[in-house]
């Protein structure tokens, strides 16, 4: 599996306007709906599920990144997007540091293997210092897509 198999390029938000976690989650879910990767009628419920997931345990795994995710019956096809916050967001991250890059992943409910594979590819990349740094520095949607495509080409 590759990043661009499920990251929806048109839904990438190079500068998140929201200044808090829940606002950022809504902005990213709405961007996926606008790109028609998610029914617009599902946004409220998806955001509520994402917030609940964060309350049960932060997906701010440290090093400035968060990977909010849910499996939900209203998601018919796996879809992900990326939001970049210049100011940083409070995700109650494990290392108590602000989050600058949000990787949002929505999965259908009945495909746990596909979900694990997507998480595998996301974290394999996020673990690389260079990838995280470049992602944080990429100020446009085109630059972020370039970076993802380059990552996908590496073995």
């Amino acid at each position: 599996m590759k990043l661009m198999d499920f990251i929806v390029a048109e839904a990438i938000v190079p500068e998140v306007a929201a200044t808090d976690r829940d606002g950022a989650l809504r902005e990213l879910a709405s961007a996926l709906a606008k790109a028609e990767a998610l029914p617009a009628s599902a946004v409220d419920e998806i955001v509520a599920a994402l917030v609940k997931r964060e309350q049960n345990g932060s997906t701010g795994f440290g090093k400035g990144i968060a990977v909010p995710h849910v499996k939900h019956p209203m998601v018919k096809r796996m879809a992900g997007t990326i939001g970049r916050s210049v100011a940083g967001l409070d995700f109650a991250a494990l290392d108590h540091q602000p989050v600058f890059t949000v990787f949002l992943l929505l999965s259908p409910e009945n495909q746990p293997q596909q979900h694990l594979q997507a998480m595998n590819i996301v974290f394999s990349n996020l673990q690389k210092d260079m990838f995280r740094r470049f992602l944080r520095q990429s100020a446009t949607r085109a630059a972020i897509v370039d970076l993802l495509q380059e990552a996908d080409q590496r073995p």
Binding site: N56, G57, T59, F61, G62, V67, H69, L94, P112, Q113, H115, L116, Q117, M119, N120, F123, S124, L126, Q127
Partner: protein
Amino acid sequence: MSTASRDIIVSNSLGLHARPAMQFVDLANQFRSQVTVSKGGEEPYSADGKSVMQMIILAATQGTPLRILADGDDADVAVEKLARLFEEKFGED
């Protein structure tokens, strides 16, 4: 110093997703021993059992065999308790 290891099989239906991975890491961090979790097969990977990111990279689905290895003065009890999380399916199913 001593080492201990245990082979287990992921038995909960959702596999080792983020929540169980964090549960494992939280428990692993309570021990002084170094903890490693390894997966064989076509895409072998050894994860630091105290790193959530690395544990998620294992992407261990239901039925995946894993080896838990601990190295340190509390290795035996660490492996015992960590293996029990898998046996108890992380409270899922």
